[in-house]
């Protein structure tokens, strides 16, 4: 791909967004163009996927000088892990656009496009300053979309998430600069490229621990890990559908991605040394958030906790230091993004039609909207991890990996089969199935456009559950590369 396909994927949405902003077009034209942009990006991502070679190394590299006096470069590349997340984004976003079709203004679509640029940029960056740039750039449109189109106490929530995550990122920025300076002292030239920074040998153990902690803090807030999660509830609850969709299904996963992409190669020894703590923090989060979700009345808050619970499990997987756990975590990133993204879209519709977020005020939806219920059920089963969905494959692999890491952790992590099931089925009973005598006559069943938006997700959830091998082979070499070359673990 000579024309810089990754750059096109990153900047096309931004270019479209700014053009739309400047041109006097209506919101209807905006949404059509936004949708078409998403489709074009899906096609481009498909090209990348098709041409991706089965190795664990960076491919599709692009390299341009940016701020050459400080060795800051515009440097892109993808490996197996970023590839599957790219495919995930490229598939999810057109589906989401089909769902967000009606009643959104121009600003909404522009923000969505800008978020997409931030996300893909974060995903491709191989230079830490560039990464930081996109990482923060991703946040601004989120700030706008929640602040302008959210519900409830939206201004407070949007300021809370922004300040909270920026605070975390600032620590990361300090660490990045520190690494850059250390590189300069050791090698006599400036560089912030990941491949250069991993060669630093002069850092003392104490320095390394501080830097490790700085990076981890930024990512832990984004994921969020316990106890950095309190921004989550209000943000999810008050976000508009598009915002919460992107936050839960993609942006939260970028925190995990950041750990694997940067923390692991920069501090491989510490990564291995602290792995037990993070495995247990992940499991603790799984149980803690799972139990907290049980008694939530606000449906979006319940899913916020549910999301955090699964992300804890993903973190357990990436720190399990073996192929099963890491592949499972990569798979769960995908599985969970689809299921939780789909669920937030469905709930968004519920909220849009009925204006209700409280589980107690719902009920009797199944009778009114059978297609809605079927899709809701399939997403729910994926979250619960029923065999036949990709949720099962990933949860099983993570349990396997965790058991390989430590038997006791493995056994406790198997509790995941109970956690999500207990609140999800309760929710399904109260909010969807049983007739509570509430007025839900405004609820409409899915129309053709919405069905088309949901079908790819359903198809992938089941396809990846029944025939996982076909989806695995592109990630496998990357995971092996992480384990053997970076962490130096022989299997």
């Amino acid at each position: 791909m000579d024309f810089g396909i990754l750059s096109v994927i990153i900047f096309l949405p931004m270019f479209v967004a700014f053009s739309l902003l400047l041109l006097p077009v209506s919101s209807k034209i905006t949404r059509n163009i936004a949708f078409m942009t998403a489709i074009v990006i899906l096609l481009l991502a498909g090209m990348v996927y098709y041409n991706f070679e089965l190795t664990g190394y960076m491919q599709f590299r692009e390299h341009h000088s940016w701020i050459s006096s400080y060795g800051i470069n515009y440097s892109l590349g993808i490996d197996g892990l970023s590839l599957i997340i790219l495919m995930l984004i490229a598939t999810l976003i057109p589906c989401a656009y089909l769902w967000l079709w009606d009643g959104r203004t121009k600003g909404y679509w522009v923000s969505m496009l800008l978020i997409q640029t931030g996300i893909t940029g974060t995903l491709f960056s191989q230079d830490l300053i560039l990464f930081y740039f996109f990482w923060e750039a991703m946040l601004l449109p989120v700030f706008m979309i929640i602040g302008m189109f959210g519900t409830g106490n939206r201004v407070f929530s949007t300021i809370k998430i922004t300040v909270y995550t920026i605070m975390g990122s600032l620590f990361m920025l300090i660490c990045i600069l520190y690494l850059g300076v250390a590189f300069f002292y050791e090698f006599g030239s400036w560089s912030f490229a990941l491949n250069d920074l991993i060669q630093i040998t002069t850092l003392s153990r104490a320095e390394q621990i501080w830097l490790f902690a700085g990076f981890m803090l930024a990512f832990a807030i984004k994921i969020p890990l316990f106890p950095f999660h309190t921004w989550l509830l209000e943000t999810y609850s008050n976000s508009p559908t598009g915002g919460v969709f992107l936050l839960s299904s993609i942006m939260a996963k970028l925190g995990v991605y950041g750990i694997v992409r940067f923390v692991m190669p920069l501090f491989p020894e510490l990564y291995k040394e602290f792995a037990p703590y993070f495995v247990w923090i992940g499991i603790f989060g799984l149980l803690y958030f799972g139990i907290a979700a049980l008694m939530q009345i606000n449906i979006k808050k319940m899913f916020a906790y549910s999301s955090a619970s699964h992300l804890g499990f993903i973190v357990t997987g990436i720190f399990s230091l073996n192929a099963y756990g890491m592949t499972g975590a990569a798979y769960l990133i995908i599985a969970h993004a689809m299921a939780t993204g789909g669920l937030f879209l469905l709930i968004g519709k519920l909220e849009y039609d009925l204006g209700i977020k409280s589980i107690l005020a719902l009920g009797g939806i199944a009778k009114k909207a059978p297609l809605f219920t079927v899709f809701f059920a399939i997403m729910l089963l994926c979250i619960v991890g029923l065999p036949g969905t990709n949720g099962f494959v990933s949860e099983f692999l993570i349990i396997l990996g965790t058991f390989g890491f430590s038997q006791s952790a493995g056994i406790v992590s198997a509790l995941t089969v109970l956690v999500a099931a207990s609140f999800m089925f309760w929710l399904f009973q109260r909010a969807i199935l049983q007739d509570n005598g509430n007025d839900v006559s405004q609820m409409k069943d899915l129309n053709l456009r919405e069905v088309l938006g949901m079908l790819p997700l359903i198809f992938l959830i089941i396809g990846m559950g029944v025939y996982p091998d076909w989806f695995f082979y592109k990630i496998e070499p990357t995971i092996q590369h992480y384990l053997i070359d970076i962490l130096e673990i022989r299997t």
Partner: protein, 628 residues
């Protein structure tokens, strides 16, 4: 060569359920699809699977061939393959045959029972989906594939229990079933993962595990055996995870017949038999299993004596009979346990379907004390129910006699006399509560209303007759050698019994006579108390047995309520009032310190001069100290 047909045994019901599901959605969204289209697909799938299964059965006669079909590589990590594979040996093909056959009969019955239901298509969609999962469970070539079916049947059971979903209670019962099953699944997964690490390196399927488990240390095997059995407890409704089964009767009656009597609940027994190579190595766990089974059998039988809901009596009786099966498989009598699974499938399905017929005839009345005199009104149902009741009570020559006799013989010959005593005592209770049901419903004089009985279609009565024949004949495949039989089932499934104790023929005869007397005693007591039962009002029961030993209430208080409290504590106390307080406190701290710092800029020249003075003195002191 024709092994790929194994996959089709499972695939056919899956495909048919998918087609029915899509057609059902079409019928409610676009245009009505007539009922016979649904039943056409719904009924042909189990029949086709049965025929396919039968063709494998024929190929197996007279040899020990095991059919294996690997459909595709499910996944590959670290150079380790896990396949999607199917295996048919004598055990699984035996299960396939009766699952599809009894399943088919129940499908026919359901096509009559559900005739006026709006969700006719949905029902067959779920039913076929269940059947497919059950067949996957039975035919899976390794624990993972088996687990897929295992969870699948749990989920379809949830769907069918909460079939009438508009009433929250039904969905609640479904949730309860799913969660209780999941507690079991937790055990299954833990066992599977442990097995994977200790014995999976040569391939993670039953044939390889059989070899590789031999080299695993006994404590690990014990752990695996226990964890697996937790799975079986959940699925087969044994103590302490049985609470879901009585509530599961909220589903339509054919569901109770198919899932909660004949097939799904026996999956736990099947699993223990399937892992016989594991349990052979750890007889102490087997003994534990047998005791859990015995206690469950007794416990359920005691509760059943006081119940009034016809379906709940049968539910507890199912739990009790499953307990018998666990006695057998726990003591190593795998073929004996499977034999009872087989006979039980016939007479219990028949009992449920007969009960369903009575319930329909009486316009959905389930309290036996509001029934009566049904012998005259529905003679066919009466006769078939009588056969089933005799069978379950263990009266020769009906099916249940042979299998129950063998189970008790296994217990006795293994030297576990306590288990044997519990078994015999439970047999008395079984005969008692079953004949109590029979006498009250069919001879009682309580039902005096002259409401016209609901018509029972042929599709409902024909399966009753077929199953009644089955309940008479099913036992003959396992006639012990003592009575001149060949014990076909024992030789079919292989000589698994590992007990070295053998009893003399005279002992065997004495035991048999004791069993028959136990059954007769139970019948006699029931006769004395309930024959021609007449009562002005529906009796009101109280007491600990009627309240099912308050197990539900105990679980609610000790577990459910505590977890709910914990949830509220976490989400409202810790998160909102502690962690978020700190986070917000930090941010307010910044704002407040900003205010303080801002106060320094107060345009007061003397204050500025004073701070300059302090600054200069600090710096000069520092310089003096450093430069000196």
């Amino acid at each position: 060569m024709s092994n790929f047909l194994l996959a089709w045994i499972v695939l056919i019901p899956f495909i048919s359920s998918f087609i029915i599901g899509v057609m059902y959605l079409y019928s409610i969204k676009v245009a009505r699809v007539p009922n016979f289209v649904f039943s056409l697909f719904g009924l042909s799938a189990p029949l086709l699977s049965f025929l396919l299964g039968f063709s494998f059965f024929l190929q197996m006669i007279g040899n020990d061939e095991i059919f294996l079909y690997k459909a595709y590589r499910w996944l590959e990590i670290d150079g380790y393959d896990i396949d999607m594979g199917f295996m048919a040996d004598k055990l699984s093909i035996f299960m396939v045959l009766f699952i599809t056959f009894v399943g088919w009969l129940i499908h026919i019955y359901a096509s009559g029972y559900m005739k006026d239901d709006k969700g006719y298509g949905k029902f067959f969609f779920y039913f076929n989906f269940f059947l497919a999962s059950m067949l996957l469970l039975v035919l899976g070539h390794g624990p993972i594939i088996m687990f897929m079916g295992w969870e699948g049947v749990g989920f379809s059971s949830y769907l069918l229990i909460s079939y009438y979903y508009e009433d929250g209670e039904n969905v609640k019962a479904g949730n309860k079933a799913f969660i209780a099953n999941r507690v079991g699944d937790f055990g299954f997964i833990v066992a599977m993962v442990t097995m994977f690490y200790y014995a999976g390196s040569n391939g993670f399927d039953f044939l390889n595990l059989k070899e590789s488990l031999l080299s695993v240390p006994v404590p690990v095997l014990t752990f695996i055996g226990f964890s697996l059995f937790v799975g079986a407890i959940g699925k087969s409704a044994q103590i302490p995870l049985f609470v879901w089964l009585p509530d599961a009767m909220a589903g339509p009656t054919p569901v109770s017949a198919l899932i909660h009597a004949a097939t799904m609940v026996t999956a736990g027994v099947y699993m223990v038999a399937r892992f016989h190579f594991l349990y052979d190595l750890i007889p102490h766990v087997g003994l534990f299993i047998a005791y859990v089974g015995a206690i469950s059998a007794l416990f359920a039988a005691i509760i059943a004596t006081k119940q009034t809901d016809i379906k709940k009596i049968l539910a507890y009786s199912t739990m009790s009979q499953l307990g018998y099966m666990f006695i057998a498989v726990g003591l190593g009598g795998y073929s004996v346990g499977i034999f009872h699974v087989f006979t039980h499938a016939f007479f219990k399905a028949l009992l449920f379907m007969g009960a369903g017929a009575v319930i329909v005839a009486l316009h959905h009345e389930q309290n036996i004390f509001k029934m009566g005199g049904m012998k005259k009104k529905t003679p066919l149902v009466y006769f078939t129910m009588l056969i089933a009741t005799l069978a379950i009570s263990g009266i020769p020559p009906f099916a249940g006699f042979f299998s129950k006799d063998e189970i008790l013989l296994t217990a006795f010959s293994s030297g576990e006399y306590l288990l044997w005593i519990i078994g015999v005592f439970t047999a008395i209770l079984t005969a008692y509560y079953m004949f109590r049901l029979l006498f009250v419903v069919f001879y009682g004089k309580n039902y005096k209303e002259d409401k016209k009985l609901h018509f029972l279609p042929k599709s409902m009565t024909t399966p009753l007759v077929i199953l009644a024949i089955g309940s008479i004949l099913a036992g003959f495949i396992g006639i012990p050698e003592l009575l001149g039989g060949e014990n076909l089932i024992g030789s079919w499934l292989g000589n698994w019994k590992n007990s070295s104790l053998h009893v003399t023929h005279s002992t065997e005869i004495i035991l048999m006579v004791i069993n028959i007397f136990a059954a007769l005693l139970g019948i006699f007591i029931a006769y004395k108390k309930f024959y021609m039962y007449d009562m002005k009002e529906v009796p009101i029961f109280t007491g600990i047995v009627w309240n099912k030993f308050y197990i539900d209430e105990i679980y609610d208080t000790l577990i459910v309520h505590k977890i709910k409290q914990l949830s509220i504590f976490i989400s409202y106390k810790i998160d909102v009032h502690f962690i978020d307080k700190i986070v917000m406190g930090l941010s307010r701290g910044f704002i407040r310190s900003g205010h303080y710092i801002a106060k320094m800029q107060n345009a007061n020249t003397r204050f500025y001069a004073f701070t300059m003075l302090i600054g200069i003195s600090v710096i000069s002191t520092y310089l003096i100290m450093v430069l000196r």
